[in-house]
Amino acid sequence: MNTILMTTLTISGITGILALLLSVANRTIANYGEMKLTINDEKEYTVEGGDSLLSTLIEEEIFIPSACGGKGSCGYCKVKVTQGGGEILPTELGYVTPEEQREGIRLSCQLKVKTDLKIEIPEELFNVRQYDYTLSYMADVTDKIKHLRLRLPENATIDFKPGQYVQILTPVYKESDEEVYRAYSIASSPVNKNHIELLIGYVPEGICTTYIHKYLKEKDRLTIVGPFGDFYYRDTDREMIMVGIGTGMAPLLSILRYMRDQGIQRKGTFFFGARTREDLFLTEEIDEISRTLKDIEIVYTLSRPTPECHWEGPVGRVNDLLDKRLDDCSRLEAYLCGSPLMIDAVMEVFKKKDFPLEHIHYDKFE
């Protein structure tokens, strides 16, 4: 009995002393005090040092796009640092090109605020806000994809361009003990400023998708930050080539709905690809839109149709389809959205056909 008591006391004593020591160190050594953060040479903030630049900016309600939630694995949260910040870290090298490094571009999730900093960010990021949405509708559109409609409180509005994305703040829940941000494209038309729609595919062990698919219920609240992204509808008179694979059709649906709502008649083709017939979704609405937008042709394509699909449309990868269908690309404009593999493959085809690069817009879903 005595030994047991002694053992317990010794171990807890040692652990306790060390814990005390570490918390004192945390309060003194790891306490960087207040730092001055200057943004675009005009706005000045006094911030608590020691945290990453990304989370420090979030504290100040400035939301830098980040898809991985600050793990340094997406490379979206780039910020130009003009003063302070020190040398670039090994963890940033994979995402910041040597050219960008010379300009002072850094990953804001890796850079810690340890000195006064001067940074530059695009003005429109000041428009990014945090919104408190309520889930008003949720339905399965395939066995893996959910269709969500989220409503803002009365009188609250969001301004976004069709094609842009928002980030969902996934709260702590049973299967995850950290808050993470994950990016999803808006599928609804920006004409309706009070609600947004999202199409969210299930990713096994994905922190946010698991939460959405297994835990989120109607009337639940969801914190959303946005809008972000340079993938959006461009007002030109070029013929549009739109390619959306799986949930990659969401931002394109937003563009189509926007064109319908605004009565914009442009020539174009919308390629919606999936594996099997069951993986195509919201086709009724798409067909309905195409009756209004008469110059938009809709092409459904399946990569792996099964005999049960009774599929008579195009089969195979969309890049092969484009290779066959496209001829003169000089008057075209492209919107690509889906997996990086698909986009890289389509880009190959475009390069081969001298597609004007400045008119290719894409959003890679990682």
Partner: protein, 196 residues
Amino acid sequence: MMELNPLVIFFASIFTNNMILSNFLGMCSFIAISSEIKTSLSLGQAVTFVLTFTTLLNYLVYHYLLVPLGLEYLRYIVFIIIIAAFVQLIEMIIDRYFPALYHALGIFLPLITVNCAVLGVSLFMIIRDYTLLQSIAFGLGSGLGWTLAIVTMAGIRQKIKNAPIPKGLEGAGITLIITGLMALAFIGFSGIVVIQ
């Protein structure tokens, strides 16, 4: 055992009883971070520093706390806690005051916590019944020996960077083979003195 001069232990733990090359301890970071001399040297320094001080701390805790209380069997858990806390503290200090070193080691610093060479030295010190001076010499020597091994390995790996290595052996494979060859070379020292 007691009559071994600390200086003998110091040199023996660098050459004849090298932690990596004769005990094969601390292999994971040895293989992972031995591709560049500069980085491996800073990791080596960190390991040497941690080894010397944890050996000293563990010696004091063992002989002045665990032995008097008759709780020697707790040494594994106590050593591990002390090493972990010490590395945590060092990480905070380096992060704050030595940004250049922190850059070089980056996320690898916490690896030292689970570096078995660090725990190994503390345990060998108890098994071999070293005195305080002998333990410090052993800790410092083992750290320098570990540094010598990883820096040498990094040097070799930099040399063979463009060598036509069979595809399946690239990376960890060839590193393990080189480790074996280096260990053979270090056996050449073993006639000089033996400390175990």
